[in-house]
């Protein structure tokens, strides 16, 4: 035990309370599962929802007493609190629309919800990690739970394929990250971001700059994989398409937001002094991500795969905000990730209901005539799609606006122009879904569509409300983001 060791104060426990609550509830669900005997225990969703709600409350409470915890391993600041709240909200919405899906697939058991809670634990840790070992641990907790979720329906071939692919490539990427962490430790003698920050700009160690750059590049590989940025985006379409739809909803929003949070924190805080070295790389990655995502999405017939490519493109937009490397860039990224989370969870919630058993109906053409069969569902889907396009008076528009404003502010004129032109290209494939929903005769899939289950309906209404309200009064969220965007 080191000499300067002191037991954590009670405030420090409060700062990690959300993670503790999530783990406790996850374990309770697992225990209930074990106690219930042979048959899997049904209806554990409410317990998970309660856990997430309590964790959300405690995250807000912890946010009122910011500061480091556990020897600077964690830091609770506005930025971390924002992302904790965001991933918990996404988790809540995803759990809400999972129940009916799992029931339909005959897989309604507690493990699923426990895994969601564990995954959220990892993401909350990521949001507040102030130290590279914690980053790694958080990433692993989040990822391993998500790998299993991606292959949750174990009798389904595509689920298995998705999980294996995600697991193999993901472990590989995490290994790169860990290798980078090891290098950094070797070069600076610390894994703490604040220490690293001062160490890398120390003129006496200038000879090691190239090595630090290489280490940062190794870590970039790991983070870029997690946020599905080019050139590490190749896993995304297969995994998003193969995983169960509610899991895709969750995966495309929460882990991605958390990964961006930690990406921003590590690069802005730890490698802030090397900005002129990594900015060009992120610039290129941002542009490539937008282009690959949008142009590949143009050719997709499967709606899940299309939205997977679209999520790559959206990661590219957030990368633009990272490239801007400024406070308003961080604000913009935070706003965008939140806006994206709502519209994307909404869109996938519709797909998970529409797909029916075994996800039979996930072609774009299957959605034909949805507006005649269920006008309200179609209207909500239309709002999500318009928001993904970036039409004004939706959250997605302000997200794009803030990002490209930050980019212009940082003098990234070409990136702005190319990025916005990209978003015009993107309009084409989103419009295709609108076209079939509104302008085509109802398909077999649409005709046999049943009413929305209550949980999915709640998810959809909340996501729609958030998309529209943030589209008209973006200040509601942006003010929070602005207060929170200051990184130490």
């Amino acid at each position: 035990m080191p000499a300067d060791f002191s037991f954590p104060s009670s405030v420090e426990y409060i700062r990690i309370l959300p993670e503790m609550i999530l783990v406790v509830f996850g374990t309770i669900i697992m225990l209930l599962e074990a106690l219930s005997g042979e048959a899997p225990r049904k209806n554990t969703a409410p317990i998970a929802l309660l856990g997430i709600a309590l964790a959300f409350g405690s995250a807000v409470y912890a946010g009122t007493m910011p500061g480091p915890a556990f020897q600077n391993f964690l830091i609770v600041d506005g930025f971390g609190t924002f992302f904790r709240m965001l991933v918990l909200l996404v988790g809540f919405l995803a759990v809400l629309c999972s129940g009916s899906y799992l029931e339909r697939e005959g897989a309604d058991s507690g493990e699923y919800f426990a895994l969601v809670l564990y995954s959220l634990t990892g993401q909350c840790l990521l949001a507040t990690a102030n130290e590279l070992i914690m980053v790694f641990i958080g990433l692993e907790i989040s990822s391993i739970a998500t790998y299993i979720l991606a292959g949750y329906l174990r009798d389904d071939k595509r689920n298995n394929e998705a999980a294996i692919k995600y697991f193999l490539l993901g472990s590989f990427a995490t290994a790169f990250l860990l290798y980078g962490v090891a290098w950094i430790y070797g070069l600076t003698g610390s894994t703490n971001l604040n220490v690293i920050r001062t160490a890398v700009v120390d003129p006496t160690t200038a000879h090691a700059h190239a090595m630090v750059g290489a280490a940062a590049a190794l870590m970039f590989a790991g983070f870029a994989f997690k946020v599905s940025a080019a050139p590490f985006q190749a896993w995304t379409p297969d995994v998003y398409q193969g995983a169960p739809a509610p899991v895709t909803a969750f995966m495309s929003a929460a882990p991605k937001a958390a990964a961006f949070a930690v990406f921003i924190r590590v690069y802005f805080t730890g490698f802030g002094g090397l900005a002129e070295r990594w900015e060009p790389i992120v610039w290129m990655s941002a542009l490539a991500t937008m282009i690959i995502g949008n142009f590949a999405a143009l050719m997709q017939a499967n709606i899940k795969r299309m939205l997977a490519y679209s999520s790559i493109a959206h990661a590219g937009y957030v990368m633009v905000a990272v490239t801007a490397h400024s406070k308003i860039g961080t604000e913009a990224a935070m706003f965008y990730l939140a806006a994206y989370a709502f519209m994307n969870v909404g869109a996938f919630a519709i797909i998970s209901h529409f797909g029916r058993q075994g996800e039979r109906y996930v072609q774009v053409d299957d959605f034909a005539g949805l507006s005649e069969k269920q006008p309200a569902t179609a209207a909500m889907f239309a709002i999500f799609l318009l928001s993904l396009i970036g039409v004004p008076l939706t959250a997605g528009f302000f997200g794009k606006f803030y990002i490209f404003r930050a980019a212009l502010d940082a003098n990234l004129i070409w990136l702005t122009i190319l990025g916005l032109l990209n978003s015009a290209v993107a309009a084409y494939y989103y419009l295709r879904i609108l076209v079939v929903m509104y302008f085509h005769e109802p398909s077999e899939a649409t005709k046999s569509l049943t009413a929305l289950p209550a949980g999915t309906r709640l998810t959809l209404w909340s996501a729609t409300a958030a998309t529209v309200v943030l589209g008209v009064f973006p200040s509601l969220l942006l003010d929070i983001a602005r207060r929170a965007a200051q990184l130490r």
Binding site: L386, F401, F404, I413, F439, L478, D479
Partner: protein, 508 residues
């Protein structure tokens, strides 16, 4: 908070949109008619301050914060330039409800809701004094029109509507870049504030900044106008749209482009506008002539009218970039004229289509024998569109040509060809469709104009005569606004490329 009449006129269509969505299906069209007619009557109240002293000025201003950072304000106001465009929009909406009365049978509720949402968007475009707010309304108009064409259009509607959406979207994203760039330079989106900063020289835009920004704005507007060669979306959209969609598209939405050019391109980037003027005028004149020639060979009536729009709008651009008082007055007057007469033409073609389900000129002939009243109205509209004196287009075209002549006689010589050609294609179409012997089919299908249709077209016919004779109703307020805009367009100009003085024009 004080609420001006303009706020009411702007938001009433949005309230109407929500009301129709919530209303029972059966009463949707009655509600739409009632609401849009009430909005029109309300909007007439906007005219009053413009008949006071000097006819100029800006009225009904509301300026309150909408979003704090970046500071985006809900800033709307009305001047002589926007006034008549707003009234044109509020007038055409109830008329569009009337002409859709029987034609629209499926998804009635959504149809009228989208029509009102469109009205909300276009009024917003015409009154926004904040660049960001302007952009928001500009994009918002896309959505209802996309659905109007896509759901209720003809056979190739999906192709047409997607093309329409993507063209406009691609143009406007560059405008967004320019708007944000202006913001980073000036720290505000407020058009009047930016204008003031530029005029006082507190913010200067170098030529290297002005030209790309001017082009970014101009491209967005030119696609909408549409300026040749960016017009290819227009014939598709017009032909595939339902009648009311064509009317709104031609009469109001195209004006968003020309309005934007006059309002923003001239005043914010005066220098760049002057420098690019020659090229733009060249495109406008090519558009006038090519549009007319292409219109001449169209077998399809709607396509003919669509291409005639390309030609007519060329005059507007020509007048605008002459930078003369007459030219600009003519351009703005021509925007209104085109809205009235081309709107009427689309309505009449729509009436024919409802009767015989054909847009081919060759399937008609001898309509005059069966429906003399209908033919008379069509004839008046045709003559107005050609530019016959005492009817509206004559005034506009004359002013445009006069203004252009102050700058260059060559321009006028070519542009005037367009006037002649318009007589050719319109009268030729009239001859083929209305004169001659009526075939069995025409006798069977074509009936006389009914009272509902007459009610819809009558205001436009009255306006054609009114605007052709009593120009003093409209021109003073337009002129006052234009004089102000011309003044502003010169404020930022570093050197005079062209002056309006006749003696210099001779020197060219």
């Amino acid at each position: 908070m004080n609420c001006t009449l303009l706020d009411v006129v702007l938001f009433a269509p949005f309230v109407g949109f929500l009301a129709i969505l919530l209303a029972p299906r059966a009463s949707a069209k009655t509600a739409a008619l009632g609401i849009s007619a009430a909005i029109f009557l309300l909007s007439l109240g906007l005219v009053s301050p413009f008949f006071g002293q000097g006819h100029g000025g800006t009225y009904f201003e509301t300026n309150i914060p909408w979003i704090d950072t970046p500071s985006i304000r809900y800033h709307i106001a009305l001047d002589g330039l926007s006034l008549w465009l707003v009234i044109l929009s509020t007038l055409l909406t109830p008329l569009c409800v009337l002409i859709s009365w029987r034609y629209i049978q499926n998804r009635v509720k959504e149809y009228y809701a989208f029509l009102l949402l469109l009205e909300f968007g276009v009024i917003g475009v015409f009154v926004s004094m904040d660049l960001f707010l302007f952009y928001v309304f500009w994009e918002v108009t896309l959505v209802p029109m996309y659905f109007l064409i896509g759901i209720w259009g003809h056979d190739r509607r999906i192709y047409a509507t997607v093309k329409f959406f993507l063209y406009t979207m691609a143009g406007s994203v560059l405008m967004l870049v320019a708007i944000i760039y202006l913001y980073t330079k000036t720290g505000t989106f407020d058009y009047t504030v930016i204008q003031g900063l530029l005029a006082q020289g507190r913010v200067t835009l170098s030529n290297a900044e002005q030209i790309p920004m001017f082009l970014a704005f101009f491209l967005a507007f030119a696609i909408k106008v549409p300026l040749w060669p960016l017009h290819t979306w227009l014939p598709d959209a017009h032909v595939e749209a339902p009648t009311a969609g064509s009317v709104m598209l031609a009469s109001v939405m195209l004006k968003m482009g020309t309005y934007g050019i006059v309002r923003f391109c001239l005043t914010l980037f005066g220098n760049a506008a002057h420098q690019c003027a020659d090229w733009i005028v060249a495109l406008a004149i090519v558009g006038i002539i090519v549009g007319a020639l292409v219109a001449m060979v169209q077998p399809n009536m709607k396509k003919l009218v669509a291409y005639s729009s390309v030609s007519h709008l060329g005059f507007v651009v020509l007048g605008t970039f002459s930078f003369t008082q007459q030219g600009l007055d003519g351009a703005v007057y021509q925007m209104l004229n085109h809205g009235v007469s081309t709107g009427a033409l689309f309505m009449l073609v729509g009436y024919l289509y409802e009767r015989s389900h054909s847009l081919e000129i060759s399937s008609y002939g001898g309509v005059a024998r069966v429906a003399p009243w209908f033919t008379t109205i069509f004839m008046v509209t045709t003559l107005a569109s050609i530019g016959l004196p005492l009817l509206n287009n004559f005034v506009g075209e004359f002013l445009v040509l006069q203004g252009a002549a102050l700058v260059s006689k060559t321009w006028v010589a070519f542009a005037a060809l367009g006037v002649i050609l318009s007589a050719c294609y319109m009268l030729w179409m009239f001859q083929r469709a209305f004169l001659g012997e009526a075939s069995e089919e025409v006798r069977h299908h074509i009936t006389e104009i009914n009272s509902r249709e007459l009610l819809a077209i009558a205001p436009l016919v009255i306006l054609m005569v009114w605007m052709g004779t009593l120009t003093q109703t409209f021109l003073p307020s337009i002129s006052a606004a234009n004089a102000h805009i011309l003044e502003q367009s010169k404020a930022g100009v570093e050197y005079q490329v062209k002056t309006t003085a006749p003696e210099l024009a001779h020197a060219r």
